[in-house]
């Protein structure tokens, strides 16, 4: 049996504040396009089934658009005779039983199997059993749900969360759950994981497919796409959906460079052809503050007009500490906040006890604020 494994489509994600000629967020449009491309790719691969390992939607209450895009994709896949298995992830699972899941809309579609009830579900396709553990409400429920699995002899496990051993490469989101490495048992033919946005093999038989899109610069080094998996021999092949559009240029040393010279560096890196539809970050090291200030900001922003996002990060030569100035995107706002607090506390400006409480309470509030901001006002309250 051959399957395609994908995850983390995050339909509905928008960001970077660039609009297209219709006034739509360019990043958001790109995510939809990527999903359509992925569907096309999958159909061309003719697998026996598709597994989406969580976070189909970026929001618990998606707008109409992402729902439509997803519905269209599902229809195309099932029309092509490819059954689809989906689990909910930390982004698209409501955090309480009382709210309803966006996936309710798709339940009952022919050949679509969705695990979204915070509990283990098993779907049998061909000769394989697909054991699905969707997003659960409590972190310790994963062990318990896993305990319900009865092996059929030909088993695939589908889960969403951060595997313990990947913790260092933290994907910065709230509400993520850690999956113990002890769940990655050898006797599964394949383990399809979602949540981490890069393609990664975390055990002999366990993979993150990664997302199709690049969402933020933390992911600049990641490989992305789909995985085409042969369940007979467990081989997983990476399948590219679209070329990479994120460029995080290695830092440019600007010691002693004049305004003109810096401008030239930037012009060179931002050739309109090269930046088209890209997410670009340029880091300038040891820049003279005076020289940088004289760069024409209007022209600078025009440089990146073709890009989805262009960030120029100057690190001034008069700054004692090299402070990373990351774009404070909403996706990771609370993490920025928590990081900032730990730094302040390490340097003795905030007492540890206060840091803990502010971090705990504050990031919960921030998360709510971000979620509120990201929820369409037109959505009816649930």
């Amino acid at each position: 049996m051959k399957i395609v494994h994908l995850a983390d489509s995050h339909l509905g994600f928008s960001g970077y504040n660039r609009l297209d000629e219709h006034g739509r967020n360019r990043m958001e449009e790109r995510v939809y396009e990527g999903f359509d491309l992925a569907v096309e790719k999958i159909i061309s691969l003719r697998p026996d089934a598709v597994v989406h390992a969580g976070d189909v939607f970026h929001h618990v209450r998606p707008k109409i658009r992402p729902l439509v895009v997803f519905q269209r994709g599902l229809q195309r896949l099932t029309d092509a005779g490819i059954p689809v298995i989906i689990i909910s992830g930390n982004h698209d699972a409501p955090k309480s039983f009382s709210s309803s899941s966006p996936f309710l809309l798709f339940e009952g579609m022919k050949d679509v199997h969705i695990a979204q009830r915070y509990a283990y579900e098993r779907f049998d396709l061909d000769d394989h059993a697909f054991h699905c553990i969707p997003f659960c409400l409590e972190p310790d429920e994963y062990l318990q749900e896993f305990g319900k699995i009865e092996r059929s002899g030909r088993d695939v496990l589908v889960m969403h969360g951060l595997v313990e051993s990947l913790r260092n490469k933290r994907l910065r989101t709230v509400g993520e759950h850690e999956l113990k490495d002890s769940l990655l048992k050898r006797d599964f033919d394949y383990i399809a994981l979602g949540h981490f946005h890069g393609q990664a093999r975390v055990a002999e038989n366990a993979w993150y497919s990664g997302s199709v899109e690049y969402f933020n610069f933390g992911e600049a080094g990641d490989q992305k796409g789909l995985l085409s998996v042969d369940l007979e021999d467990g081989e997983a092949l990476s399948v590219e959906v679209r070329p990479k559009n994120m460029i995080d240029h290695p830092p440019v040393d600007c010691s002693g460079l004049s305004t003109e010279a810096i401008a030239e560096v930037l012009m060179e890196l931002c050739d309109p052809q090269a930046v088209r539809d890209k997410l670009i970050r340029i880091t300038l090291r040891n820049v003279s503050r005076a020289a940088f200030r004289r760069i024409d900001q209007v022209k600078l922003s025009r440089l990146g007009a073709e890009a989805i996002y262009l960030k120029v990060r100057p690190e001034f030569d008069d700054e004692k500490e090299e402070r990373m100035e990351r774009p404070a995107d909403r996706f990771s706002l609370q993490q920025e906040f928590v990081d900032y607090l730990s730094q302040e506390s390490r340097e003795g400006r905030i007492a540890e006890a206060i840091r803990k409480e502010v971090a705990g309470y504050g990031s919960a509030v921030l998360e709510k604020a971000v979620a509120a901001k990201n929820t369409e006002v037109l959505d009816a309250p649930q």
Binding site: P139, D140, L143, Q144, F146, G147, E164, S165, R167, K180, D181, S182, L183, L184, K185, R186, A203, E204, S342, R346, A351, A353, I354, K356, E357, V358, G360, Y361
Partner: protein
């Protein structure tokens, strides 16, 4: 309790001998110093009132100038026959009786635990007034001992052979960055103690309050699920706190459980000095192994020695090519026998769990002694080296448990790894918990660095002597008590508790039930110090 007047009527009593009752003359302090109290009790007490070693008595005294009450607490070390006569007059026969029953008594020798003054308990720097009344300590007096207890509960306070269930004994996790020792003759309850200790650590960790990670390497396969045939349970059964337990096993069956990960180490984590533990090498081979650790420092030493350049380096060190080839072949054979040596390694996860303050259980049943030492060596070196690196934010200390510790901490054992942890680990937050039946085999100097001693029944006098001589708190006086400890009973000497505590260690299976039924603390955003978000 009525305020008793001290001294006044006593002189009168002596003059009017006939009216003297045992209540007037017994149960009073008669001597002797700040470190030892003596009082006398009737020699013919009924069974229920007999004084036992280990019982706790209270001495009521009061300060005349401020008329404040003082209560001294003391524990019985010994009970002796005594009389007011010199020589053998007390046993001389008078008529059909012994000479004079009035002048015969039992002398109780007790060790001061401390003194309660103004409601707080501390060590005493003085003695109670002579003839102060002594009585068995009561509930309210025991309550003061609660003040000195820590956060890792392990049992109840023992009063002689009785329990004081109201007073749980708990070690201080703050003092666990120092080494700890658990000593008992086989079958007296070392493993049971460790399971109780680990369970309390899991409970603390689950509440975000643990201060150290606990690493238990279990060569007998008894911690994970207990031993079915004995009806004992394991750490996995404490499912309520499973989030703070990380289990690794080399046992295929145990690895089937969702919470148990297959234990593995990768070749790059093995060093020549670990390999030295794996086999009875000849002296020339040992020399070669040492030379290898001096000459090669990469993760890939075994392959490097075999290529031309590496081999040439060993030859330059004065070894024959054939010796090296034999050695390499043997190393490879030995390592291949250990199926857990793989590409993947559990060590980074183990480390992360320790640094987060969790309990880590490495279950390695049915392994040979050498193979186990080898593994312990790789594991503990890895942990120590990682702890030597700069501490990350919120990193917790760790405590490495070693069963049958006399093998690695004994005089003349060639396992300097563990001694180096014992000597320098503390600086980096790595402590050892040595478990052994034979403390006499452990180097004295090392023992003297142990800050927590859990002494259970030890039959061998030399074992006791060794501990008594190196303990931070005076255990000598407790020799009799230690000799008479029964299964599950212990005397614990630890930082934070100002006297060696007599404990009845919980039976793990009972403690499990207790932990399961325990009410969870109220979770509150406003608890703890500092910032209070919802005050208005």
């Amino acid at each position: 309790m009525a305020q008793e007047k001290i001294g006044g009527e006593f002189g009168a009593g002596i003059l009017n001998k006939k009216s003297l009752t045992p209540e007037n003359t017994t149960y009073r302090i008669i001597s002797k110093s700040v470190s030892e109290y003596h009082f006398i009790v009737p020699f013919d007490l009924p069974d229920a009132e007999r004084v036992e070693v280990g019982q706790i008595f209270s001495v009521k005294d009061y300060d005349q100038s401020s008329s404040r009450k003082l209560t001294f607490l003391a524990r019985v070390l010994d009970v002796q026959h005594g009389s007011n006569y010199d020589g053998n007059w007390d046993t001389t026969i008078k008529g059909t009786q012994f000479f004079d029953r009035d002048q015969i008594f039992n002398r109780v020798i007790a060790e001061p635990l401390g003194c309660v003054r103004d409601g707080s308990f501390r060590k005493s720097r003085t003695i109670p007034t002579k003839f102060s009344p002594v009585s068995r300590a009561e509930q309210e007096e025991f309550q003061f001992l609660r003040q000195v207890m820590g956060d890792i509960e392990i049992g109840y306070l023992r009063n002689g052979s009785r329990l004081v269930e109201e007073i749980p004994v708990a070690l201080h996790s703050d003092s666990m960055d120092h080494h700890m020792g658990v000593f008992a003759t086989t079958g007296m309850g070392k493993s049971n103690f460790m399971k109780v200790f680990a369970a309390s650590c899991m409970r603390l960790a689950a509440r975000g309050k643990s201060k150290f990670g606990l690493l238990i390497v279990d060569p007998h396969g008894e911690y994970i699920l207990g031993e079915g045939r004995k009806g004992t349970k394991g750490l996995v059964h404490l499912s309520r706190y499973s989030s703070s337990l990380a289990c690794y096993s080399t046992d295929y069956k145990n690895c089937q459980m969702p919470q148990v990960e297959e234990f593995s180490i990768s070749f790059s984590e093995i060093k020549p000095e670990d390999v030295a533990l794996l086999y009875n090498w000849s002296p020339p081979q040992m020399d070669a192994l040492e030379a290898i650790s001096r000459t090669f420092d990469s993760d890939n030493w075994l392959d490097e020695i075999q290529d031309g350049e590496g081999l040439a380096r060993m030859v330059r060190e004065g070894f024959k090519e054939s010796t090296i080839q034999v050695l390499v072949r043997r190393i490879k054979n030995l390592l291949e026998k250990n199926a857990y040596i793989k590409k993947r390694s559990s060590l980074p996860n183990i480390l992360a769990n320790l640094q987060n303050g969790n309990v880590v259980l490495v279950d390695i049943p049915r392994m040979s002694d050498r193979a186990e030492l080898f593994l312990l060596s790789v594991l503990s070196r890895y942990v120590l080296e990682e702890y030597k690196k700069e501490a990350s934010d919120g990193r917790k200390n760790c405590l490495i448990t070693i069963e049958e510790a006399q093998r690695v901490l004994g005089q003349g054992s060639n396992t300097s790894r563990f001694e180096s942890i014992a000597r320098e680990g503390r600086k980096f937050g790595v402590g050892l918990c040595a478990i052994t039946q034979q403390p006499k085999l452990i180097e004295k100097q090392l023992l003297s660095q142990f800050n927590t001693l859990v002494v259970m029944g030890l039959g061998d006098r030399n074992d006791r002597l060794q501990l008594e001589e190196s303990a931070k708190q005076d255990l000598k006086s407790l020799d009799i008590e230690i000799q008479t400890l029964e299964k599950g009973e212990a005397v614990i000497s630890t930082l934070g508790i100002p006297f060696p505590v007599p404990v009845s260690v919980h039976k793990y299976e009972h403690y499990l039930e207790h932990l399961k039924a325990e009410k969870a603390p109220e979770e509150s955003l406003t608890s703890g110090p500092g910032f209070k978000p919802f005050l208005e």
